[in-house]
Protein backbone atom coordinates (compact mmCIF):
# COMPACT_ATOMS: atom_id res chain seq x y z
CA UNK A 1 0.00 0.00 0.00
CA UNK A 2 1.51 3.34 -0.95
CA UNK A 3 1.19 6.18 1.47
CA UNK A 4 -0.48 9.46 0.56
CA UNK A 5 1.78 12.51 0.78
CA UNK A 6 -0.04 13.77 3.88
CA UNK A 7 0.68 10.50 5.69
CA UNK A 8 4.44 10.60 5.25
CA UNK A 9 7.17 11.55 7.69
CA UNK A 10 9.47 14.55 7.47
CA UNK A 11 12.40 12.37 6.43
CA UNK A 12 10.41 10.51 3.75
CA UNK A 13 9.15 13.75 2.23
CA UNK A 14 12.61 15.29 2.42
CA UNK A 15 13.97 12.47 0.24
CA UNK A 16 11.19 13.00 -2.31
CA UNK A 17 11.68 16.77 -2.33
CA UNK A 18 15.44 16.37 -2.74
CA UNK A 19 14.95 14.09 -5.75
CA UNK A 20 12.45 16.50 -7.25
CA UNK A 21 9.83 13.74 -7.23
CA UNK A 22 7.34 16.00 -5.51
CA UNK A 23 7.00 19.70 -4.73
CA UNK A 24 6.23 21.37 -1.43
CA UNK A 25 3.18 22.87 -3.10
CA UNK A 26 1.84 19.38 -3.86
CA UNK A 27 2.51 18.21 -0.30
CA UNK A 28 0.89 21.31 1.17
CA UNK A 29 -2.16 20.97 -1.07
CA UNK A 30 -2.47 17.31 -0.13
CA UNK A 31 -2.39 18.26 3.57
CA UNK A 32 -5.15 20.83 3.07
CA UNK A 33 -7.28 18.33 1.14
CA UNK A 34 -6.90 16.00 4.09
CA UNK A 35 -7.84 18.86 6.44
CA UNK A 36 -10.96 19.56 4.36
CA UNK A 37 -11.93 15.91 4.71
CA UNK A 38 -11.38 15.30 8.43
CA UNK A 39 -11.10 18.64 10.26
CA UNK A 40 -14.87 19.04 10.78
CA UNK A 41 -14.76 15.86 12.88
CA UNK A 42 -11.39 16.34 14.60
CA UNK A 43 -11.18 20.12 15.13
CA UNK A 44 -7.42 20.14 15.61
CA UNK A 45 -6.95 23.76 14.53
CA UNK A 46 -7.99 27.16 15.79
CA UNK A 47 -6.68 29.04 12.74
CA UNK A 48 -5.75 27.72 9.30
CA UNK A 49 -3.37 29.77 7.17
CA UNK A 50 -3.93 28.20 3.77
CA UNK A 51 -2.96 31.14 1.55
CA UNK A 52 0.17 32.00 3.50
CA UNK A 53 1.15 28.32 3.58
CA UNK A 54 0.84 27.93 -0.18
CA UNK A 55 3.04 31.01 -0.60
CA UNK A 56 5.60 29.52 1.80
CA UNK A 57 5.45 26.28 -0.17
CA UNK A 58 6.06 28.10 -3.45
CA UNK A 59 9.02 29.91 -1.90
CA UNK A 60 10.35 26.60 -0.57
CA UNK A 61 10.03 25.02 -4.03
CA UNK A 62 12.01 27.88 -5.50
CA UNK A 63 14.77 27.35 -2.93
CA UNK A 64 14.79 23.62 -3.64
CA UNK A 65 15.16 24.29 -7.35
CA UNK A 66 18.17 26.43 -6.56
CA UNK A 67 19.64 23.52 -4.62
CA UNK A 68 19.06 25.16 -1.24
CA UNK A 69 17.15 22.35 0.45
CA UNK A 70 17.44 21.82 4.20
CA UNK A 71 15.88 18.97 6.22
CA UNK A 72 12.67 20.89 7.00
CA UNK A 73 12.37 22.84 3.74
CA UNK A 74 8.86 22.69 2.35
CA UNK A 75 7.48 20.49 5.17
CA UNK A 76 3.97 21.50 6.40
CA UNK A 77 3.92 21.86 10.19
CA UNK A 78 1.21 22.58 12.74
CA UNK A 79 2.04 25.16 15.42
CA UNK A 80 0.48 25.20 18.86
CA UNK A 81 -1.48 28.41 19.28
CA UNK A 82 0.64 29.39 22.29
CA UNK A 83 3.62 30.29 20.08
CA UNK A 84 3.71 33.81 18.70
CA UNK A 85 3.54 34.08 14.92
CA UNK A 86 4.00 37.57 13.47
CA UNK A 87 0.87 38.71 11.67
CA UNK A 88 -1.07 35.52 12.49
CA UNK A 89 -3.41 35.59 15.45
CA UNK A 90 -2.22 33.71 18.50
CA UNK A 91 -5.09 33.00 20.87
CA UNK A 92 -3.70 30.59 23.48
CA UNK A 93 -7.14 28.97 23.23
CA UNK A 94 -8.58 31.93 25.14
CA UNK A 95 -11.29 34.49 24.54
CA UNK A 96 -9.02 37.09 26.11
CA UNK A 97 -6.56 36.74 23.17
CA UNK A 98 -9.14 35.92 20.49
CA UNK A 99 -8.03 38.88 18.35
CA UNK A 100 -4.36 39.08 19.37
CA UNK A 101 -1.98 39.39 16.43
CA UNK A 102 1.63 39.20 17.61
CA UNK A 103 4.00 41.79 16.17
CA UNK A 104 6.90 39.32 16.31
CA UNK A 105 7.77 35.64 15.87
CA UNK A 106 8.73 33.28 18.67
CA UNK A 107 12.36 32.23 18.31
CA UNK A 108 11.33 28.69 17.30
CA UNK A 109 9.15 30.14 14.53
CA UNK A 110 12.02 32.30 13.31
CA UNK A 111 14.29 29.23 13.28
CA UNK A 112 11.74 27.17 11.32
CA UNK A 113 11.28 30.02 8.83
CA UNK A 114 15.04 30.00 8.28
CA UNK A 115 14.55 26.35 7.30
CA UNK A 116 11.78 27.33 4.86
CA UNK A 117 9.26 25.14 6.65
CA UNK A 118 5.56 25.65 5.84
CA UNK A 119 3.03 26.57 8.56
CA UNK A 120 -0.36 24.92 8.08
CA UNK A 121 -2.07 26.68 10.97
CA UNK A 122 -2.33 27.19 14.69
CA UNK A 123 -3.44 24.15 16.64
CA UNK A 124 -6.07 23.92 19.35
CA UNK A 125 -5.12 23.65 23.02
CA UNK A 126 -6.44 23.92 26.54
CA UNK A 127 -6.81 27.58 27.43
CA UNK A 128 -3.33 28.94 28.25
CA UNK A 129 -2.16 25.28 28.22
CA UNK A 130 -4.08 24.61 31.43
CA UNK A 131 -5.64 21.21 31.07
CA UNK A 132 -5.03 17.61 30.09
CA UNK A 133 -7.79 17.14 27.54
CA UNK A 134 -7.99 20.21 25.23
CA UNK A 135 -11.54 20.65 26.51
CA UNK A 136 -10.88 24.00 28.20
CA UNK A 137 -10.24 25.70 24.84
CA UNK A 138 -12.51 28.71 24.24
CA UNK A 139 -12.80 27.41 20.67
CA UNK A 140 -14.27 24.05 21.68
CA UNK A 141 -12.66 20.66 22.22
CA UNK A 142 -10.56 18.57 19.82
CA UNK A 143 -11.58 14.96 19.25
CA UNK A 144 -9.20 12.02 19.47
CA UNK A 145 -8.74 10.68 15.90
CA UNK A 146 -8.72 7.11 17.27
CA UNK A 147 -12.13 7.52 18.88
CA UNK A 148 -14.01 10.75 18.29
CA UNK A 149 -15.83 10.39 21.63
CA UNK A 150 -12.53 10.61 23.49
CA UNK A 151 -10.11 13.41 24.36
CA UNK A 152 -6.81 13.77 22.51
CA UNK A 153 -5.08 14.59 25.79
CA UNK A 154 -3.75 18.04 26.48
CA UNK A 155 -2.83 20.68 26.55
CA UNK A 156 -1.21 20.22 23.10
CA UNK A 157 -4.17 18.08 22.00
CA UNK A 158 -4.66 19.96 18.74
CA UNK A 159 -1.04 19.36 17.68
CA UNK A 160 -1.25 15.67 18.65
CA UNK A 161 -4.56 15.12 16.87
CA UNK A 162 -3.36 16.99 13.77
CA UNK A 163 -0.31 14.71 13.48
CA UNK A 164 -2.37 11.56 14.17
CA UNK A 165 -5.14 12.53 11.73
CA UNK A 166 -2.58 13.47 9.03
CA UNK A 167 -3.59 17.14 9.09
CA UNK A 168 0.08 18.16 9.14
CA UNK A 169 3.37 16.28 8.83
CA UNK A 170 4.63 17.21 12.28
CA UNK A 171 3.85 19.83 14.89
CA UNK A 172 5.22 21.88 17.76
CA UNK A 173 3.75 21.61 21.21
CA UNK A 174 4.63 22.93 24.64
CA UNK A 175 4.99 20.95 27.84
CA UNK A 176 4.64 22.39 31.35
CA UNK A 177 3.47 19.26 33.18
CA UNK A 178 3.12 16.72 30.37
CA UNK A 179 1.34 18.76 27.70
CA UNK A 180 3.43 17.29 24.86
CA UNK A 181 3.93 13.75 26.16
CA UNK A 182 0.44 12.95 27.45
CA UNK A 183 -1.42 13.99 24.24
CA UNK A 184 1.26 12.20 22.18
CA UNK A 185 0.43 9.03 24.15
CA UNK A 186 -3.32 9.59 23.76
CA UNK A 187 -2.99 10.02 19.97
CA UNK A 188 -0.39 7.33 19.25
CA UNK A 189 2.42 9.64 18.13
CA UNK A 190 5.88 10.67 19.33
CA UNK A 191 6.19 13.75 21.57
CA UNK A 192 9.32 15.07 23.18
CA UNK A 193 9.89 17.59 25.94
CA UNK A 194 13.52 18.74 25.86
CA UNK A 195 15.54 19.68 28.96
CA UNK A 196 14.56 22.99 30.50
CA UNK A 197 16.68 25.59 28.71
CA UNK A 198 17.36 23.50 25.60
CA UNK A 199 14.83 25.39 23.45
CA UNK A 200 14.27 29.14 23.67
CA UNK A 201 10.98 30.15 25.26
CA UNK A 202 11.04 33.61 23.65
CA UNK A 203 7.62 34.15 22.12
CA UNK A 204 6.08 31.22 23.97
CA UNK A 205 3.20 32.83 25.86
CA UNK A 206 4.11 32.08 29.46
CA UNK A 207 2.09 29.74 31.65
CA UNK A 208 4.62 28.62 34.29
CA UNK A 209 8.00 30.03 33.34
CA UNK A 210 10.15 27.64 35.40
CA UNK A 211 8.49 24.61 33.78
CA UNK A 212 7.49 25.49 30.19
CA UNK A 213 9.40 23.95 27.27
CA UNK A 214 8.70 23.71 23.53
CA UNK A 215 9.15 20.40 21.74
CA UNK A 216 8.42 18.29 18.65
CA UNK A 217 5.31 16.14 18.08
CA UNK A 218 5.92 13.75 15.21
CA UNK A 219 5.09 10.46 13.49
CA UNK A 220 8.37 8.82 14.44
CA UNK A 221 11.51 9.26 16.50
CA UNK A 222 13.66 10.27 13.53
CA UNK A 223 11.34 13.20 12.81
CA UNK A 224 11.48 14.23 16.47
CA UNK A 225 15.29 14.26 16.36
CA UNK A 226 15.24 16.22 13.11
CA UNK A 227 12.79 18.83 14.39
CA UNK A 228 14.66 19.13 17.71
CA UNK A 229 17.85 19.85 15.76
CA UNK A 230 16.37 23.02 14.34
CA UNK A 231 14.61 24.45 17.36
CA UNK A 232 17.40 23.88 19.92
CA UNK A 233 20.08 26.29 20.90
CA UNK A 234 20.99 29.31 22.94
CA UNK A 235 18.96 32.47 22.48
CA UNK A 236 20.05 35.79 24.00
CA UNK A 237 16.34 36.70 24.16
CA UNK A 238 15.66 33.92 26.67
CA UNK A 239 18.03 34.24 29.60
CA UNK A 240 17.08 30.73 30.77
CA UNK A 241 18.13 29.10 27.50
CA UNK A 242 21.41 27.27 27.99
CA UNK A 243 24.60 28.43 26.45
CA UNK A 244 25.81 25.10 25.21
CA UNK A 245 25.89 23.88 21.68
CA UNK A 246 23.13 21.49 20.63
CA UNK A 247 24.43 18.28 19.09
CA UNK A 248 23.08 16.74 15.88
CA UNK A 249 20.37 14.59 17.42
CA UNK A 250 19.98 12.43 14.33
CA UNK A 251 23.38 10.94 15.16
CA UNK A 252 21.72 9.27 18.14
CA UNK A 253 19.43 7.28 15.82
CA UNK A 254 21.24 4.03 16.46
CA UNK A 255 19.44 0.76 16.34
CA UNK A 256 20.87 -0.76 19.46
CA UNK A 257 20.75 -0.13 23.17
CA UNK A 258 23.53 -2.50 24.17
CA UNK A 259 24.92 -1.57 27.54
CA UNK A 260 22.18 0.95 28.34
CA UNK A 261 20.79 0.61 31.85
CA UNK A 262 17.06 1.28 32.02
CA UNK A 263 15.66 2.19 35.40
CA UNK A 264 12.10 1.11 36.10
CA UNK A 265 10.71 3.15 39.01
CA UNK A 266 8.49 1.00 41.19
CA UNK A 267 6.38 4.00 42.25
CA UNK A 268 5.07 4.35 38.67
CA UNK A 269 3.64 0.86 38.63
CA UNK A 270 2.61 -0.20 42.10
CA UNK A 271 0.51 2.85 42.98
CA UNK A 272 -1.95 5.40 41.65
CA UNK A 273 -4.44 3.20 39.87
CA UNK A 274 -2.46 2.42 36.73
CA UNK A 275 -4.62 0.67 34.13
CA UNK A 276 -3.58 -3.02 33.88
CA UNK A 277 -3.45 -2.90 30.09
CA UNK A 278 -1.12 0.13 30.21
CA UNK A 279 1.14 -1.68 32.66
CA UNK A 280 1.22 -4.79 30.49
CA UNK A 281 2.05 -2.83 27.33
CA UNK A 282 4.91 -0.97 29.02
CA UNK A 283 6.40 -4.21 30.31
CA UNK A 284 6.14 -5.82 26.87
CA UNK A 285 8.03 -2.84 25.42
CA UNK A 286 10.64 -3.09 28.17
CA UNK A 287 11.22 -6.74 27.22
CA UNK A 288 11.83 -5.68 23.61
CA UNK A 289 14.51 -3.25 24.78
CA UNK A 290 15.97 -5.94 27.00
CA UNK A 291 16.24 -8.31 24.04
CA UNK A 292 18.08 -5.55 22.17
CA UNK A 293 20.76 -5.48 24.82
CA UNK A 294 19.53 -3.07 27.49
CA UNK A 295 19.53 -4.12 31.11
CA UNK A 296 16.56 -3.40 33.34
CA UNK A 297 17.01 -2.34 36.91
CA UNK A 298 14.37 -1.48 39.47
CA UNK A 299 14.84 1.99 40.89
CA UNK A 300 13.00 4.13 43.39
CA UNK A 301 11.81 7.72 43.09
CA UNK A 302 10.44 7.97 46.61
CA UNK A 303 8.82 11.42 46.36
CA UNK A 304 6.76 10.63 43.26
CA UNK A 305 3.48 10.68 45.16
CA UNK A 306 4.05 14.33 46.15
CA UNK A 307 4.78 15.57 42.63
CA UNK A 308 1.22 16.37 41.55
CA UNK A 309 0.50 18.40 44.70
CA UNK A 310 3.81 20.30 44.41
CA UNK A 311 3.20 20.97 40.72
CA UNK A 312 -0.37 22.20 41.17
CA UNK A 313 0.91 24.73 43.68
CA UNK A 314 4.00 25.88 41.76
CA UNK A 315 2.46 26.05 38.27
CA UNK A 316 -0.67 28.00 39.31
CA UNK A 317 1.48 30.30 41.47
CA UNK A 318 3.60 31.19 38.46
CA UNK A 319 0.50 31.39 36.25
CA UNK A 320 -1.29 33.78 38.60
CA UNK A 321 1.63 36.14 38.20
CA UNK A 322 2.15 35.61 34.45
CA UNK A 323 -1.53 36.09 33.65
CA UNK A 324 -1.76 39.37 35.58
CA UNK A 325 -0.81 41.04 32.30
CA UNK A 326 -4.24 40.36 30.80
CA UNK A 327 -6.01 43.43 32.06
CA UNK A 328 -7.59 44.88 28.93
CA UNK A 329 -4.99 47.64 28.54
CA UNK A 330 -2.15 46.68 26.20
CA UNK A 331 -3.69 43.86 24.18
CA UNK A 332 -6.51 41.37 24.14
CA UNK A 333 -10.14 41.54 25.12
CA UNK A 334 -11.58 44.49 27.05
CA UNK A 335 -15.06 44.49 28.51
CA UNK A 336 -17.37 47.32 27.62
CA UNK A 337 -19.41 49.43 29.98
CA UNK A 338 -16.94 49.66 32.86
CA UNK A 339 -17.07 52.69 35.08
CA UNK A 340 -13.56 52.82 36.48
CA UNK A 341 -10.17 51.16 36.07
CA UNK A 342 -10.66 48.54 38.78
CA UNK A 343 -14.01 47.63 37.28
CA UNK A 344 -12.44 47.31 33.87
CA UNK A 345 -9.74 44.94 35.15
CA UNK A 346 -12.17 42.72 37.00
CA UNK A 347 -14.89 42.52 34.37
CA UNK A 348 -12.38 42.08 31.54
CA UNK A 349 -10.64 39.20 33.30
CA UNK A 350 -13.86 37.56 34.46
CA UNK A 351 -15.35 37.65 30.96
CA UNK A 352 -12.10 36.86 29.17
CA UNK A 353 -10.85 33.81 31.09
CA UNK A 354 -12.52 30.41 31.25
CA UNK A 355 -13.25 28.43 34.42
CA UNK A 356 -10.02 26.38 34.56
CA UNK A 357 -7.79 29.41 34.07
CA UNK A 358 -9.67 31.25 36.79
CA UNK A 359 -9.36 28.23 39.08
CA UNK A 360 -5.60 28.18 38.63
CA UNK A 361 -5.22 31.93 39.05
CA UNK A 362 -7.21 31.58 42.29
CA UNK A 363 -5.14 28.62 43.53
CA UNK A 364 -1.92 30.42 42.69
CA UNK A 365 -2.99 33.70 44.25
CA UNK A 366 -4.05 31.85 47.39
CA UNK A 367 -0.79 29.87 47.58
CA UNK A 368 1.23 33.07 47.32
CA UNK A 369 -0.93 35.20 49.61
CA UNK A 370 0.13 36.51 53.00
CA UNK A 371 -0.09 33.85 55.68
CA UNK A 372 -0.17 30.91 53.26
CA UNK A 373 3.03 31.38 51.28
CA UNK A 374 5.21 29.16 53.51
CA UNK A 375 2.64 26.38 53.86
CA UNK A 376 1.98 26.13 50.13
CA UNK A 377 4.48 27.73 47.75
CA UNK A 378 7.44 27.46 50.11
CA UNK A 379 6.69 23.84 50.94
CA UNK A 380 6.10 22.88 47.30
CA UNK A 381 9.42 24.46 46.29
CA UNK A 382 11.19 22.35 48.92
CA UNK A 383 9.44 19.22 47.67
CA UNK A 384 10.62 20.16 44.20
CA UNK A 385 14.19 19.93 45.50
CA UNK A 386 13.47 16.46 46.91
CA UNK A 387 12.03 15.30 43.58
CA UNK A 388 15.09 16.62 41.77
CA UNK A 389 17.32 14.78 44.23
CA UNK A 390 15.34 11.56 43.63
CA UNK A 391 16.28 11.76 39.94
CA UNK A 392 19.91 12.69 40.66
CA UNK A 393 20.16 9.62 42.85
CA UNK A 394 18.39 7.38 40.31
CA UNK A 395 20.67 8.43 37.45
CA UNK A 396 23.66 7.22 39.45
CA UNK A 397 22.46 3.67 38.75
CA UNK A 398 20.80 3.95 35.32
CA UNK A 399 21.04 5.80 32.00
CA UNK A 400 17.35 6.24 31.28
CA UNK A 401 14.12 5.89 33.22
CA UNK A 402 11.23 4.11 31.54
CA UNK A 403 7.61 4.56 32.68
CA UNK A 404 4.09 4.69 31.28
CA UNK A 405 3.29 8.18 29.93
CA UNK A 406 -0.22 8.28 31.37
CA UNK A 407 -1.94 6.02 33.89
CA UNK A 408 -4.88 5.29 31.56
CA UNK A 409 -5.77 5.24 27.86
CA UNK A 410 -7.44 8.44 26.57
CA UNK A 411 -10.62 9.10 28.54
CA UNK A 412 -14.01 10.22 27.25
CA UNK A 413 -14.91 13.82 26.43
CA UNK A 414 -16.60 15.34 29.47
CA UNK A 415 -15.50 12.52 31.78
CA UNK A 416 -13.21 14.62 33.99
CA UNK A 417 -14.23 18.13 33.04
CA UNK A 418 -16.16 18.79 36.24
CA UNK A 419 -13.66 17.09 38.51
CA UNK A 420 -10.51 19.22 38.39
CA UNK A 421 -8.53 17.03 40.79
CA UNK A 422 -9.17 13.88 38.72
CA UNK A 423 -8.02 15.83 35.64
CA UNK A 424 -4.84 16.94 37.45
CA UNK A 425 -4.02 13.33 38.35
CA UNK A 426 -3.82 12.35 34.67
CA UNK A 427 -0.44 14.15 34.65
CA UNK A 428 0.94 12.03 37.48
CA UNK A 429 3.70 10.35 35.42
CA UNK A 430 4.76 13.37 33.37
CA UNK A 431 4.92 16.11 36.01
CA UNK A 432 8.07 14.94 37.85
CA UNK A 433 10.29 15.47 34.77
CA UNK A 434 9.09 19.08 34.48
CA UNK A 435 9.74 19.78 38.14
CA UNK A 436 13.29 18.47 37.70
CA UNK A 437 13.80 20.11 34.27
CA UNK A 438 14.56 16.74 32.67
CA UNK A 439 13.99 15.72 29.05
CA UNK A 440 11.35 13.10 28.29
CA UNK A 441 9.77 11.47 25.30
CA UNK A 442 6.51 9.59 24.80
CA UNK A 443 6.23 7.06 22.02
CA UNK A 444 3.67 4.41 21.07
CA UNK A 445 3.88 1.12 22.98
CA UNK A 446 0.79 -0.66 21.71
CA UNK A 447 -2.97 -0.54 21.93
CA UNK A 448 -5.49 -1.61 24.51
CA UNK A 449 -8.28 -4.09 23.85
CA UNK A 450 -10.48 -1.27 22.50
CA UNK A 451 -7.81 -0.26 20.00
CA UNK A 452 -6.83 2.91 21.85
CA UNK A 453 -3.17 3.94 21.65
CA UNK A 454 -0.90 3.64 24.69
CA UNK A 455 2.30 5.53 25.35
CA UNK A 456 5.63 4.78 26.97
CA UNK A 457 7.76 7.51 28.50
CA UNK A 458 11.55 7.63 28.56
CA UNK A 459 13.09 10.21 30.88
CA UNK A 460 16.76 11.12 30.58
CA UNK A 461 19.23 13.03 32.67
CA UNK A 462 19.62 16.76 32.08
CA UNK A 463 20.71 17.50 28.48
CA UNK A 464 20.94 13.80 27.64
CA UNK A 465 18.33 13.93 24.88
CA UNK A 466 20.61 11.80 22.70
CA UNK A 467 20.32 8.81 25.02
CA UNK A 468 16.54 9.18 25.04
CA UNK A 469 16.47 9.28 21.25
CA UNK A 470 18.66 6.21 21.08
CA UNK A 471 16.38 4.22 23.41
CA UNK A 472 13.20 5.43 21.73
CA UNK A 473 14.51 4.76 18.22
CA UNK A 474 15.54 1.25 19.16
CA UNK A 475 12.09 0.44 20.53
CA UNK A 476 10.41 1.94 17.49
CA UNK A 477 12.62 0.07 15.03
CA UNK A 478 11.78 -3.18 16.78
CA UNK A 479 8.02 -2.65 16.84
CA UNK A 480 5.35 -1.61 14.34
CA UNK A 481 2.81 0.32 16.42
CA UNK A 482 3.73 3.63 14.84
CA UNK A 483 2.69 2.34 11.41
CA UNK A 484 -0.90 1.84 12.55
CA UNK A 485 -3.13 4.79 11.70
CA UNK A 486 -6.56 5.74 13.03
CA UNK A 487 -9.27 4.88 10.54
CA UNK A 488 -11.32 8.03 11.19
CA UNK A 489 -14.29 6.19 9.75
Amino acid sequence: MTKALYQMTIHELHELLKKGAVSSREITQAVYQRIDAVEPRVHAYITLTREAALKQAAAADEKIQRGLIQPLTGIPLGIKDLLCTAGIRTTCGSKILEQFIPPYDATVIRLLKEQDAVFVGKTNMDEFAMGSSTETSFFGPTANPWDLERVPGGSSGGSAAAVAADECIAALGTDTGGSIRQPAACCGIVGMKPSYGRVSRFGLVAFASSLDQIGPMTRDVEDAAQLLNYISGHDPQDSTSVNREAPDYTRALLRDVKGLKLGVPKEYFAQSGIDPEVEKAVWAALRILERQGATLTEITLPHTEYAVAAYYIIAPAEASSNLARYDGVKYGYRSSGETDLRDMYEITRSEGFGAEVKRRIMLGTYALSAGYYDAYYGKASQVRTLIRQDFEEAFRSCDLIVTPTAPTPPFCLGEKLNNPLQMYLSDIFTIPANLAGLPGISLPCGFNSQGLPLGLQIIGNLFEEEKIIRGAYCLEQNSDWHYTKPSLA
Binding site: T240, K330, E346, K379, L421
Partner: protein, 96 residues
Amino acid sequence: MKITKHDVEHVAELARLRFTEGELEVFTGQMNTILSYFDTLQQLDTAGVEAATHAVNRSNAFRDDQIRPSLSGEEALKNAPAHERSCFKVPRIIEG
Protein backbone atom coordinates in the same frame (compact mmCIF):
# COMPACT_ATOMS: atom_id res chain seq x y z
CA MET B 1 -13.16 23.13 55.21
CA LYS B 2 -9.89 24.84 54.40
CA ILE B 3 -11.46 28.00 53.05
CA THR B 4 -14.85 29.64 53.19
CA LYS B 5 -16.79 31.46 50.52
CA HIS B 6 -15.65 34.67 52.17
CA ASP B 7 -11.98 33.66 51.75
CA VAL B 8 -12.58 32.85 48.09
CA GLU B 9 -14.09 36.30 47.61
CA HIS B 10 -10.99 37.85 49.17
CA VAL B 11 -8.64 35.86 46.91
CA ALA B 12 -10.77 36.82 43.90
CA GLU B 13 -10.29 40.45 44.82
CA LEU B 14 -6.51 39.99 45.02
CA ALA B 15 -6.59 38.27 41.61
CA ARG B 16 -8.84 40.93 40.06
CA LEU B 17 -11.55 38.39 39.32
CA ARG B 18 -15.25 38.59 40.02
CA PHE B 19 -17.63 35.66 40.50
CA THR B 20 -21.36 35.25 40.64
CA GLU B 21 -22.92 33.74 43.76
CA GLY B 22 -23.26 30.39 41.98
CA GLU B 23 -19.66 30.40 40.75
CA LEU B 24 -18.46 31.22 44.26
CA GLU B 25 -20.23 28.12 45.61
CA VAL B 26 -18.66 25.87 42.99
CA PHE B 27 -15.18 27.38 43.34
CA THR B 28 -15.23 27.15 47.12
CA GLY B 29 -16.06 23.45 46.94
CA GLN B 30 -13.48 22.70 44.27
CA MET B 31 -10.76 24.72 45.97
CA ASN B 32 -11.37 22.90 49.23
CA THR B 33 -11.00 19.52 47.52
CA ILE B 34 -7.77 20.61 45.84
CA LEU B 35 -6.32 22.29 48.93
CA SER B 36 -7.03 19.16 50.98
CA TYR B 37 -5.12 17.16 48.41
CA PHE B 38 -2.20 19.60 48.82
CA ASP B 39 -2.12 18.60 52.50
CA THR B 40 -0.27 15.40 51.53
CA LEU B 41 2.81 17.65 51.34
CA GLN B 42 2.55 18.35 55.05
CA GLN B 43 3.39 14.68 55.75
CA LEU B 44 6.90 15.35 54.49
CA ASP B 45 9.56 16.66 56.81
CA THR B 46 11.29 19.31 54.74
CA ALA B 47 13.23 20.98 57.54
CA GLY B 48 16.52 22.22 56.16
CA VAL B 49 15.65 21.43 52.53
CA GLU B 50 16.50 24.26 50.18
CA ALA B 51 13.63 25.58 48.07
CA ALA B 52 14.05 25.12 44.31
CA THR B 53 12.83 28.14 42.38
CA HIS B 54 13.93 26.78 39.04
CA ALA B 55 14.24 23.43 37.32
CA VAL B 56 17.91 23.94 36.62
CA ASN B 57 20.37 25.87 38.74
CA ARG B 58 21.19 29.05 36.90
CA SER B 59 23.01 32.20 37.71
CA ASN B 60 22.04 35.57 36.34
CA ALA B 61 22.53 36.07 32.62
CA PHE B 62 24.10 39.48 32.17
CA ARG B 63 24.62 41.35 28.93
CA ASP B 64 25.85 44.76 27.94
CA ASP B 65 23.25 47.47 27.79
CA GLN B 66 23.22 48.14 24.07
CA ILE B 67 20.75 50.05 21.95
CA ARG B 68 19.01 47.59 19.64
CA PRO B 69 15.98 47.80 17.37
CA SER B 70 12.67 47.24 19.15
CA LEU B 71 8.95 47.46 18.41
CA SER B 72 7.81 50.78 17.03
CA GLY B 73 5.22 52.71 19.01
CA GLU B 74 2.69 52.06 16.30
CA GLU B 75 3.27 48.30 16.44
CA ALA B 76 3.17 48.27 20.22
CA LEU B 77 -0.24 49.97 20.19
CA LYS B 78 -1.71 47.84 17.41
CA ASN B 79 -3.30 45.28 19.74
CA ALA B 80 -4.53 47.78 22.31
CA PRO B 81 -8.31 47.79 22.81
CA ALA B 82 -8.15 51.60 23.00
CA HIS B 83 -5.37 54.07 22.33
CA GLU B 84 -4.98 57.75 21.64
CA ARG B 85 -1.96 59.50 20.18
CA SER B 86 0.95 57.40 21.48
CA CYS B 87 -0.78 56.18 24.65
CA PHE B 88 -2.85 53.25 25.87
CA LYS B 89 -6.26 54.61 26.79
CA VAL B 90 -7.91 53.52 30.04
CA PRO B 91 -10.88 54.74 32.10
CA ARG B 92 -10.25 57.91 34.06
CA ILE B 93 -8.25 57.32 37.26
CA ILE B 94 -7.94 60.84 38.65
CA GLU B 95 -11.03 62.91 39.11
CA GLY B 96 -11.16 66.60 38.33
